[in-house]
């Protein structure tokens, strides 16, 4: 069976290449980037009307605008507290010294000394990078969107945890939200809620809510059922069982969900700046525009600091619940005393931050931003000067040997050939149902008029994914087999996952110039950590007995990897491919900023040229459709393997 499948695939691809050669350049549906189809100009007109209606139509007056006003107000309140002065004041309600004191206290109260000290150090680090106000803005934005996300996500998650029907109803939306590249839904949201904090908050929520729903419902569903049964048989009402048994038992997992929600919100900090979010995203994005690598990194470091701070403080709170050993009276008392004195210290720091100028506004002398900026710029310039020829050679090699042939196969051949072949591949490796879905979605792309650009983006995504998998699987296997390596790599992988792709888009531009490969390279860097993590887990999950049996029968390491571990972890690896592809797709589209063209550029240009707005919105839709097609095919083929 397995052999037949791969033979079939090989045959298909051969036919595909032959036909593509024969029919090259026919029916590619290519149109000028600045040309609209009748469909996209219709969508553009609708969007224009929507803008015009924002002050008149009832849907806006009674629904969207109140939501915007409420969220704007909510964000502004938090910002006034810690980040920006309210009207008629010179400083925010709590100055930097007070914020440091309060956060230190809260982290200590919810977890432990080490985390508290780490948090304070990271906060001071953000200040030293000259990013205090931006950091506070980001914290305020994150806080606002996390609070609102949890307010919606936790109740929905509980409901989905208790009712199968609700879960079934929600699942497609949850799946979709995970595939959706963030760049895609920002334009439609901004269209309705306008550029600003409200739009950014809502965009963040769309990203974060599914995560909190998923984890909360999972927490309820995976509970040990015997206490629940016991409570039911003792005659508790549903409500009593929920509040007295299920929720307390699921608490730890729900806190973990909060942690994941926070991390989702943080990862949005940068890209949200594109639709007017205040915070660290602003310096990062403007560094891209004026090509100042140093400034981008200074702000990027602050984002990483912030991410670590929020991650450690919330995950420490989650872990703390686990300890079953009752601490002694003495440690408890000591802790209480420490807590109270820290609390008093925090109060004093708040007081100082309101009365003393030095404690209110971060002193600009305490800044190493300039040095870091100069250092990074120097280092980058050195690297660019000395590595440029190497990187350009590599870029050209990949471009000529993989990128161009694949592009001419996917985009340069008639649309019906490509659609037909995608469907055929889906038939071979996935199910009939999925093949039909792939056909329907591909046809929507064709009819939208953006087929050619979609294939350009798809080409870059596939090349990026291939390269990611080559590096990711190798590293994943290696870390899966080597504990020490995993320990060494873990902080880098964590940082790689939190460092916003925008930050290294500029250095990539320096290394590879304004080309398609810049987008691909950025996508690779962004997706490698997740692929390594998944593959590593897959390798570790292979039963020890299998490996030991192979070792005992005298297999070499190479044989163990290729004959035992890889086949046993095949499913996980397929999932890693899928995850890698979705990640690469999400980042390849921001390559539109650095000359990679395709759908990403259309989204970007749609934001700044009114006449192309419709095309931009449809381009966003096409990105989503590409993502869904591939996600479904890969998921199904992982299921079947």
């Amino acid at each position: 069976m397995h052999l037949r499948k791969s033979h079939l695939l090989l045959g298909l691809i051969t036919i595909w290449i032959a036909l593509a050669k024969l029919l090259h350049g026919k029916n590619t549906l290519q149109i000028d980037t600045y040309e609209n189809t009748s469909f996209t100009s219709y969508v553009g007109k609708m969007a224009l009307e929507l803008r015009g209606n924002r002050t008149e139509s009832t849907a806006f007056i009674y629904f969207f605008n109140p939501i915007r006003t409420f969220i704007d107000g909510f964000v502004q309140t938090i910002r006034n507290l810690i980040a920006v002065p309210a009207a008629n004041s010179q400083i925010p309600t709590i100055g930097w010294f007070g914020v440091v004191g309060l956060i230190g206290f809260f982290v200590y109260a919810t977890s432990q000394w080490r985390t508290a000290i780490l948090s304070i150090a990271l906060l001071l680090g953000c200040g030293a990078l000259g990013m205090w106000q931006f950091t506070m803005d980001s914290i305020a934005m994150t806080l606002a969107s996390v609070i609102l996300s949890l307010a919606i996500g936790i109740p929905l998650g509980i409901w989905a945890g208790l009712s199968d029907r609700v879960l079934k109803f929600l699942t497609p939306f949850l799946d979709l939200a995970q595939i959706l590249p963030t760049l895609v839904y920002m334009a439609p949201i901004a269209l309705v809620f306008m550029i600003g904090a409200a739009s950014a908050t809502i965009a963040t929520m769309i990203y974060a809510i599914p995560i909190s729903i998923r984890i909360t419902s999972h927490a309820i569903r995976t509970l040990n059922q015997s206490p629940v049964e016991a409570s039911k048989s003792l005659g508790s009402t549903k409500k009593q069982t929920l509040t007295k048994v299920q929720l307390p038992m699921a608490k730890q997992m729900i806190v973990l969900g909060i942690n994941q929600t926070v991390m989702a919100a943080v990862s949005f900090v940068v890209i949200a700046a594109l639709i007017g979010a205040p915070g660290l995203g602003k310096p990062v994005v403007s560094a891209l525009i004026i090509r100042n690598v140093g400034q981008g990194f200074v702000a990027g470091f602050a984002v990483v600091f912030l991410a670590i701070l929020l991650d450690r403080s919330t995950s420490a709170a989650a872990k703390k619940q686990v300890s079953y050993i009752q601490p002694s009276e003495k440690t408890l008392r000591n802790r209480r005393i420490a807590k109270i004195s820290l609390g008093i210290g925090a109060l004093i720091s708040v007081y100082l931050s309101r009365t003393m100028l030095w404690a209110a506004v971060w002193p600009s002398e305490l800044s190493i931003a300039k040095q870091v900026e100069v250092f990074t710029n120097d280092a980058t310039n050195w690297a660019l000067k000395n590595l440029y020829f190497l990187t350009v050679g590599f870029k050209d090699f990949i471009s000529y040997s993989v990128l161009n042939p694949l592009e001419s196969l996917l985009a340069g051949s008639p649309w019906y050939l490509t659609v037909g072949m995608v469907v055929a591949v889906a038939l071979v490796i996935a199910e009939l149902r999925i093949a039909i879905l792939a056909f329907a979605l591909s046809m929507i792309i064709v009819l939208s008029g953006l087929w050619y650009e979609s294939m350009i983006t798809l080409t870059q995504t596939i090349v990026g994914t291939l390269l990611t998998m080559m590096v990711g699987i190798a590293l994943g296997i290696w870390t899966g087999r080597n504990d020490r390596l995993e320990k060494i790599l873990k902080p880098f992988l964590d940082a790689g996952q939190t460092l916003p792709a925008f930050v290294y888009l500029v250095p990539m531009l320096g290394l590879f110039g304004p080309t398609r490969f810049t987008a691909i390279a950025t996508g690779i860097v962004y997706s490698i950590p997740i692929v390594v993590k998944i593959v590593c887990e897959g390798i570790r999950a292979v039963p020890h007995s299998l490996v030991e049996a192979a070792t005992a029968s005298g297999s070499t390491t190479y044989q163990i990897i290729t004959k035992v571990q890889l086949p046993a972890a095949k499913r996980t690896i397929l999932l890693a491919v899928n995850q890698g592809l979705i990640y690469v797709l999400a980042v390849v589209v921001i390559g539109g900023f650095v000359g990679s063209g395709g759908l990403g550029y259309l989204v970007i240009v749609g934001n700044s040229k009114p006449e192309l707005q419709g095309k931009g919105l449809i381009a966003g839709l096409c990105i989503l459709l590409l993502g869904v097609i591939f996600d479904r095919i890969m998921q199904s083929s992982a299921r079947r393997s």
């Binding site: 901004a190 306008m194 550029i195 007017g276 408890l332 708040v350 309101r354 539109g592 040229k609 006449e611």
Partner: protein
């Protein structure tokens, strides 16, 4: 377990409550330092990302703050519809330099945005080759000869043709039309950002590699790459003012840059409205401030330096 949790929340709650009370009651730095904010009012200037814009906007901001006592917020955001929407929503009052040749029309028609006259800077857009090429191949700057050199510009990304690097998304660009109308053997590559063009021109000049790309004046890159202006490729004189109607055969026209203000500011009759409406200066003025910023001066300092050197002009703007 329960009591421990309870006590923990209690300490947390007490601290939070007292922090709030404290911040509400205690005498704050605000009261002691609250500056003399004049009768001018609170306004927001859009800060677009390019350096020339920063120079103009910062000078207006400094004059407004120091001379008129206005409360000025400077908000970084994208040019074009993004900004017009913000003006409609009331969060932005001033765009000091807009290149967009009428893309604001829809908002003006709706009464959300008001044209506030020209700012005195004149934008010149064009296609430029790296200066070393203009020197080595003197006839390359005539559009008719471009095809002769097209093969030089070939890259891995240009599909066998010359690579033509188009301007950033928000700018007026008609590259695709120019290439097809003039039957140029080039492929348009959408560079996507100013950064991409800076990167392209800078490396091309440093490594003496071929490059043709979109550029505009005033732009600080012209100060960094000597003789860049000599690389201007000349197409026949322009025949259009609206990008949608351009034939593509001819060059970009000169663009007088426009100031836009919100309806709110226009109706306010405040001294700030007068300043913005009167503000006008030359490309040289803008370049001198922009160059100072580029050289590492803070925008506020660079703007102040220019203001100190031109007191009469400033007086004329504020109508005193």
């Amino acid at each position: 377990m329960k009591s421990r949790n309870g006590r923990r929340s209690l300490v947390l709650a007490i601290t939070l409550a007292s922090a709030l009370v404290l911040s509400a009651c205690s005498k704050s730095v605000n009261d002691s330092t609250s500056a003399a904010s004049g009768e001018c009012g609170d306004y927001a200037i859009a800060m677009h990302a390019w350096n020339g814009y920063t120079a103009s906007a910062q000078v207006v901001a400094e004059v407004a703050k120091k001379e008129l006592g206005c409360n000025i917020t400077q908000t970084t955001l994208d040019e074009g519809p993004t900004t017009y929407d913000a003006m409609e929503a009331g969060t932005i009052d001033v765009v000091i330099e807009d290149w967009g040749g009428g893309r604001w029309k829809e908002w003006v028609d709706r009464g959300a945005v008001v044209e506030a006259g020209l700012n005195g800077n004149v934008g010149l857009i064009g296609m430029y080759v790296a200066p070393w090429m203009a020197e080595k191949y003197p006839d390359i700057t005539d559009s008719k000869n471009l095809n002769k050199y097209a093969s030089l510009f070939k890259t891995a990304d240009s599909g066998g043709k010359g690579a033509w690097y188009e301007g950033p998304p928000g700018y007026t660009t008609i590259g695709e039309k120019m290439v097809s109308a003039n039957k140029l053997n080039f492929k348009v590559i959408f560079s996507g950002s100013e950064a991409a063009l800076v990167d392209g021109f800078t490396k091309a000049e440093a490594n003496k590699t071929p490059f043709i790309g979109y550029a505009w004046q005033p732009w600080t890159l012209f100060a960094k790459i000597p003789n860049l202006e000599k690389g201007h490729v000349h197409f026949p004189a322009n025949d259009w003012s609206d990008a949608a109607e351009a034939s593509g055969l001819t060059d970009y026209p000169e663009t007088p840059l426009m100031k836009l203000i919100s309806k709110k500011l226009n109706d306010s009759n405040s001294s700030f409205a007068t300043l913005v409406k009167n503000f006008q200066w030359t490309n040289d003025d803008q370049n001198s401030v922009a160059a100072d910023i580029e050289g590492g001066m803070k925008p506020e300092e660079a703007a102040q330096k220019w203001i100190d050197a031109h007191p009469d002009q400033v007086k004329a703007w504020i109508g005193k």
